[in-house]
């Protein structure tokens, strides 16, 4: 058997022809050209991309199921102005090269009206320019990277869904400096945009860290394989008394259990909200042989911040309503109630409110201009208003600081819950005077 390496095989042409036929078979029918794509009298199609598989997926893969559950609830009540909401979700496995393809699929095959709640900074960067160039709304992006939102001329259609990492770090940093100013404060952060943005925010609040001493770093994702022993040993050796964690929840779990392991007991832990999901941390530790009671004791007193009520706050009307909807409508593989589910529900809630708000005449332009002009008066479970304006598309510009109680519910650090507000720049941190409007009947918002 010999292989002929040159192209001089008639087979090659047959192949190209075959490929052509195959590709034709794959191509779909053109869409109706009337109004904007994705909207008919009976339906609104929304698109979302997130890592549902692969190393970056755990935790996030619950957000889309929560969103879909809320939309199903809305549909069960007759939809938005008679239109049912359909959420098309694509898995990009957190590979930016794949995100470009899944975005194209959502735009061209599913003909989505808008992107909603897409998860992931690195992956979203690869498509944000294209989505904006096409004039497609890119709303409630689940990334705290301020670069997406602070310059609406660059990305006119993109709107945030989280407080930026900088805002959160400024507020948390102010609290820590005031309360623990006499203690040695250190940080463990992952060396990506999330970690670096957080460090920048803390610096604005006057908290500066020394590399190799009070600042320990790790490559995002390696906490699961290489562990964090040397990092925690470094902080221990530097005599750090208050440890801040700016990393994902699985890294927080590894950090806390590693500290216990090396006999390091800092006076205080403070975790940026992204990495402070108690359910994720406790679940991970439980599989590692740490009973829930023990991990709850480990988490008690840990400081974190939030722009929304705590997922475990059963006295909050939004939390109880969302929890019920989650029980009744969530068809995902893992629907256990936690911050990820709360976040997904809230995103879907805001989306529904905005769609109602735009009214019968739903176009992409109308949605974007609605969010820019009226977005700041949309209400949701959040305890601060959305920061949307013509000048910025940042979402929540405020956080309250809390500590976990013995049943891992985040409780305000003072007697009352004080919400602080600030910007992603060098502006001051002030007390917010916002009063969250009451939840509408049936947890169904009809727009501002």
């Amino acid at each position: 058997m010999k292989f002929h390496p040159s192209l001089s095989k008639p087979g090659f042409l047959t192949l190209v022809a075959g490929l052509a036929v195959g590709a034709l078979a794959l191509s779909s029918l053109p869409a109706n050209a009337a109004s904007d794509p994705g909207v008919t009298d009976t339906e609104i199609v929304l698109g979302m991309q997130l890592p549902q598989s692969g190393p970056a997926s755990p935790g996030y893969n619950k957000v889309d199921d929560a969103m879909r559950a809320y939309f199903d609830y809305v549909n069960s009540k007759g939809g938005v102005n008679g239109r049912m909401i359909r959420l098309e979700v694509k898995d990009d496995a957190y590979k930016a090269g794949l995100t470009v393809s899944t975005a194209s699929s959502l735009i061209n095959k599913e003909k989505v009206f808008a992107f909603v709640g897409s998860v992931g900074t690195q992956t979203h960067i690869s498509v944000i320019k294209d989505i904006n160039r096409r004039g497609i709304p890119d709303i409630f992006v689940n990334s705290g990277y301020s670069g997406f939102y602070t310059d609406p001329k660059k990305y006119p259609n993109s709107f945030g869904d989280l407080g930026t990492y900088v805002v959160e770090a400024k507020i948390l940093g102010k609290y820590l400096k005031e309360t623990y100013g006499d203690k040695k404060i250190g940080i463990l952060y992952q060396t990506d945009d999330f970690g670096r943005n957080a460090v920048a925010g803390f610096a604005t609040a006057g908290l500066k860290f020394t590399p190799k001493e009070t600042a320990a770093t790790f490559i995002a994702g390696t906490q699961g394989s290489l562990g964090l022993v040397s990092q925690m040993s470094q902080l221990k050796a530097a005599g750090v008394e208050v440890v801040i964690i700016a990393a994902v929840s699985s890294a927080s779990a590894v950090a806390i259990s590693t500290a216990a392991k090396i006999g390091y007991a800092p006076k205080k832990w403070a975790i940026i909200s992204v990495g402070a999901d108690a359910t994720t941390i406790q679940g991970l530790l439980y599989a590692g042989g740490v009973p829930f009671a023990t991990s709850a004791a480990m988490l008690t007193g840990v400081i974190s911040a939030s722009h929304a009520p705590a997922a475990g706050d059963s006295s909050d009307e939004f939390v109880t309503a969302f929890k019920k909807i989650n029980d009744d409508f969530n068809k995902g593989p893992s629907k256990a109630w936690d911050n990820n589910v709360l976040q997904g529900m809230n995103t879907a809630y805001l989306t529904t409110e905005a769609l109602f708000g735009v009214g019968k005449n739903l176009t992409r332009k109308a949605l974007v201009s609605y969010l820019e002009t009226k977005g700041s008066s949309l209400s949701s479970a959040a305890l601060v208003p959305l920061g949307y304006s013509k000048a910025t598309h940042e979402a929540y510009t405020g956080f309250w600081v809390g500590a976990y109680d013995a049943s891992t519910v985040l409780k305000p650090v003072g007697t009352d819950r004080v919400v602080y507000t600030t910007d992603s720049g060098s502006g001051p941190v002030t007390v917010s005077t916002y009063k969250r409007p009451a939840m509408p009947v049936d947890a169904l918002p009809k727009g501002a």
Binding site: M1, F3, H4, P5, S6, L7, S8, K9, G11, F12, L13, L15, V16, A17, L19, A20, G22, A23, L24, L26, S27, S28, P30, Q52, S53, N61, D64, V89, D91, A93, Y94, K95, A96, G97, V100, S101, S104, S105, I107, N108, K109, T121, Q122, T123, I125, S126, V127, K129, D130, R133, R134, Y145, G147, T191, D192, D193, R196, A220, G332, P333
Partner: protein
């Protein structure tokens, strides 16, 4: 001599027919599949780098994705820092990644089989961390924003409205054509014969007077240039960053090369089309089953792995080889 010239002309003709066929396909497909076909054309160049390196000279690399990253960063830096057009950037990508291949080749020429596989795997792991180490230049994990830009006015006036995906395809295809032509000519040249001799029996090749290590290094240089071009085009779809060139990209190229046929250009084309369209095909085929997300999202990986196995055990020559054999019966 006459025979060689005839092969050359035939290679040229077929490369041109390929180009025209893809352009024609691009005109009739929907935008999504135009985009997918653009990815096929980009990865085809990357798979050809495997065809040359592994299929022809017998050296295995699990780090072609890293060389794609080198090309991607070289082109992005050319565009962003020097302000040059994407065409200059692509040339720069080829040059820089070929130089990287030269460096790698010096180390690789001493290594065989699994040693080389492991070393290139470590390379694929280590190179992206440079982007984080030199964040100010390489953009950290966020990466560098680049794209194909808008189609030139003359093209629009000649063909009418050209969509974004279509422009990606049309900008890529001429380069794919050049890569195809270059590969065909290398394979049918004296160099190609020397590489195959080294692959089949290194010691015998050396006894025949072939400078084995120089040829191995040269293969690395050429193959890396191909990978770099492929990576630069792949990055121009939106972003050059660590999450664009994960280790799994290297494995994807290798999978494509094996499934299609490691030793033929047609095989490389079939393989790249297969790895790009397989997830779509699986999704289409399993849609009636309404699989859960957790099953559905991992299904392409599972089926890809199974196909890889069936190929190496039952039909190591890949689809191209099987088709060829079938026709000769």
């Amino acid at each position: 001599m006459f025979k060689y010239k005839r092969t050359g002309i035939r290679n040229l003709a077929i490369a041109l027919i390929f180009t025209v066929a893809i352009i024609a396909l691009g005109a009739i497909l929907d935008p999504y599949n135009q985009g997918q076909l653009a990815v096929v054309s980009m990865l085809f160049i990357g798979v050809l780098s495997v065809t040359l390196l592994t299929g022809t000279s017998g050296q295995i690399s699990l780090g072609q994705g890293a060389l794609m990253a080198v090309g991607g960063y070289a082109s992005a830096l050319t565009i962003l820092n020097l302000g040059l057009s994407i065409w200059f950037a692509l040339v720069m990508a080829i040059i820089v990644s070929a130089l990287a291949g030269l460096l790698l080749g010096f180390a690789a020429a001493r290594l065989t089989g699994p040693y080389l596989a492991g070393t290139t795997l470590v390379l694929a792991l280590a190179l992206p961390s440079l982007a984080i180490r030199f964040e100010s230049v390489l953009g950290g994990d966020v990466g560098l924003n680049v794209d194909f830009g808008n189609p030139p006015a003359w093209l629009v006036s000649a063909f009418g409205e050209i969509g974004y995906e279509q422009w990606q395809l049309y900008a890529t295809v001429p380069l794919t054509c050049l890569a195809l032509l270059a590969t065909a000519n290398i394979l049918s040249s004296r160099t190609g014969r020397m590489w195959r001799a080294i692959r089949d029996h290194e010691s015998a090749a050396s006894l025949m007077g072939i400078n084995v290590s120089n040829n191995k290094i040269f293969t690395f240089v050429v193959s890396s240039g191909f990978a770099g071009l492929s990576g630069a085009l792949y990055g121009l779809r939106g972003i050059v960053g660590p999450s664009v060139y994960p280790i799994s990209l290297s494995l994807l190229l290798l999978t494509g090369a094996i499934l299609g046929g490691l030793r033929s250009i047609a095989g490389a084309l079939i393989g790249s089309a297969l790895v790009v369209f397989l997830p779509d095909l699986i999704e289409w085929a399993t849609r009636p089953l309404a699989l859960s997300e957790q099953i559905g999202n991992y299904l392409p990986g599972l089926i890809g792995g199974v196909l890889l196995h069936l190929t190496v055990i039952l039909n190591p020559g890949g689809i191209a080889h099987a088709l060829h054999r079938h026709k000769n019966k």
